[in-house]
């Protein structure tokens, strides 16, 4: 890789860089240790399998976990077909310079930059009020779907582009239609990217707070349908730490659950990507 031999009199630069790295690791170790120590004391099977009581001071987070997963499910389910279609179009059918492709790309860049609270406002005005979905898991999930589109499309497009050109040519030589070569050759080739994209998008979705407060709302009971309001895990942490005296311990425990979920997502994604690199493809 980039290993270079150290020279004699660069001790100072090396010292600065090592201390910066040590500082960064130390601060984050402090943060993680704080959450791990406070959170782990609180977590038990009961915590994961019971409903919150007394505004979350006591009891667990079961309905909140269910709402979180439902919001994530709606989000991925809504975003996937759109993302897949766009990625296929951008990767397979659009020349670099075409006006339509450029417009779509520009739109995605803008979408990637929109702050999450603005997504929240938009989701509230459009899904909750204009479409009449109210404060609901559906509103929240759809708002998040808009938010993760750029991420999902970028991953899928990279996966499709990584298919070697000879596969496309071979398919064409056999007289396969685009549709058929897509279905039998290109999409299977991009399957790991699809999975990685879904995981990344899901990770982004469960980490989100600001876009959900005014779309999926605060109600912390078990949702009966997708039109019920449901409190996401991150919203729960926010509420416990800001609004509930004596809620800190359960906030820590919920934060730990969230971090563990994200850690699993991260490690799985990294695993998929590295296996995929080994088989000769690159993102």
């Amino acid at each position: 890789m980039n290993r270079l031999a150290p020279a004699k009199n660069e001790g100072f630069a090396g010292f600065v860089l090592w201390s910066v790295a040590a500082f960064i690791v130390a601060v984050f170790a402090w943060l993680m240790a704080d959450i791990l120590i406070h959170g782990a004391a609180q977590i038990s099977w009961d915590f994961l399998s019971t409903a919150p009581e007394k505004a979350g001071r006591r009891g667990g987070i079961l309905p909140i976990l269910v709402s979180t997963l439902l919001i994530m499910g709606v989000c991925l389910l809504a975003a996937l077909p759109i993302a897949l279609g766009t990625a296929i179009l951008l990767a397979e059918f659009t020349p670099e310079k075409s006006a339509f492709g450029r417009m779509v790309r520009r739109a995605l860049d803008v979408l990637a930059g929109v702050p999450s609270i603005v997504f929240g406002l938009f989701g509230n005005a459009f899904f909750s009020v204009y479409l009449g979905l109210g404060f609901s898991i559906l509103s929240g999930g759809l708002t998040l779907a808009c938010m993760i589109l750029p991420l999902l499309i970028r991953t899928l497009e990279a996966g499709l582009r990584a298919n070697p050109a000879r596969d496309r040519l071979a398919a064409a030589a056999l007289g396969l239609s685009y549709g058929a070569s897509l279905r039998h050759i290109l999409l299977p080739g991009a399957a790991p990217a699809l999975l990685a994209g879904l995981l990344l998008g899901g990770g982004r979705a469960i980490a989100e707070t600001a876009a959900l407060v005014y779309t999926s709302g605060y109600v912390d009971r078990m949702p009966g349908s997708l039109l019920d309001s449901g409190r996401a895990l991150s919203v729960h942490i926010f509420d416990l730490s800001m609004n509930v005296p004596g809620g800190d311990q359960n906030a820590y425990a919920s934060a730990l659950v969230l971090i563990v979920l994200l850690f699993i997502v991260n490690v799985t994604t990294a695993g998929i990507v590295s296996r995929w690199r080994k088989t000769g493809l690159a993102i």
């Binding site: 505004a55 499910g73 279905r183 999409l187 991009a190 349908s225 309001s229 800001m242």
Partner: protein
């Protein structure tokens, strides 16, 4: 690949469908209540009782300040608005139903040695003219002034009673819900805040390190709110746009009935006179 995709969709449908059919099987009627953050916790408890005896009803409570309660009731976004004050002149198009009474009082951290503050001192603190606890009998520490954000009637009643303009208040921290104020104060021994008596007394009971101060030498007890001696007193109202009928009427009747007296007292509010 397509199969994997299809499988994914089918699986997800499997997850979602039973819920839909379940919901369609016994469609629940939703009552939506929004508004005052002081009333919301109380109404949530009342709603739980109501749901227990009427399983076909689901009551959703969202808090956000009295102004929102008024607006949502007017626009029909909520069946019932929650308002923790009397209706104003320009709000008389709405119907109000009181369910309980509450007061607003000053709270300090339990470790703060200050036992009471005169009205003039409170005004001076909120105007930023007194900046240190030393001046009012405490130890040498800067005062952290906690103020409510606009749109909450707790703020309106507080400023009205102390004849403060919201523009002349110099806060150090802005809070929304009562609970947020209590939480902020419990973590900062040098802070001062004003909140609903009900919320504060409930938190003190749960062990949160706060204490309630008298206002104009009247201690903030339920009796003093009940007999009207406590100066900052207000009704907790349910408001509707039209004359209530059906489930809305039944819920309002339930919230004003004897069945909920115990709940109201548990939350440190004053029930309606019998």
């Amino acid at each position: 690949m397509l199969k994997i995709l299809l499988l994914f969709w089918v699986l997800s449908l499997q997850i979602f469908l039973p819920q839909h059919t379940h919901a369609a099987g016994k469609e629940k009627t939703h009552l939506v209540l929004t508004g005052s953050s002081t009333v919301a916790p109380l109404v949530s408890e009342i709603a739980r009782l109501f749901e227990d005896s009427h399983p076909e009803i689901q009551v959703d409570v969202q808090s956000g300040g009295s102004s929102r309660g008024i607006a949502d009731a007017r626009r029909g976004l909520a069946e019932i608005g929650l308002v923790s004050r009397d209706l104003k002149e320009n709000e008389k198009d709405l119907k109000a139903f009181s369910i309980a009474f509450d007061g607003i009082t000053i709270i300090l951290h339990r470790d703060n040695p200050v036992k009471k503050l005169s009205n003039a001192e409170i005004v001076a603190i909120y105007q930023g003219k007194i900046k240190n606890w030393e001046k009012v009998g405490g130890h040498d520490a800067p005062i952290t002034v906690i103020n409510k954000s606009a749109g909450h009637s707790t703020l309106e009643l507080f400023t009205a009673y102390f004849k403060l303009k919201s523009t002349e208040i110099h806060p150090d921290v802005i809070i929304g819900d009562n609970a947020q104020g209590i939480k902020t104060l419990s973590g900062n021994p040098d802070a001062i805040a004003y909140v609903s008596i009900g919320a504060a007394a409930l938190e003190a009971e749960l062990g949160t390190p706060i204490k309630l101060l008298p206002v104009a030498n009247i201690s903030p007890t339920l009796e003093n709110v009940q007999n009207g001696r406590f100066p900052i007193r207000r009704p907790l109202n349910l408001v509707t746009q039209k004359k209530p009928t059906g489930w809305v009427l039944r819920f309002i009747q339930f919230a004003r009935s004897k069945d909920v007296r115990a709940v109201i007292q548990e939350q440190y509010f004053v029930p309606l006179p019998e």
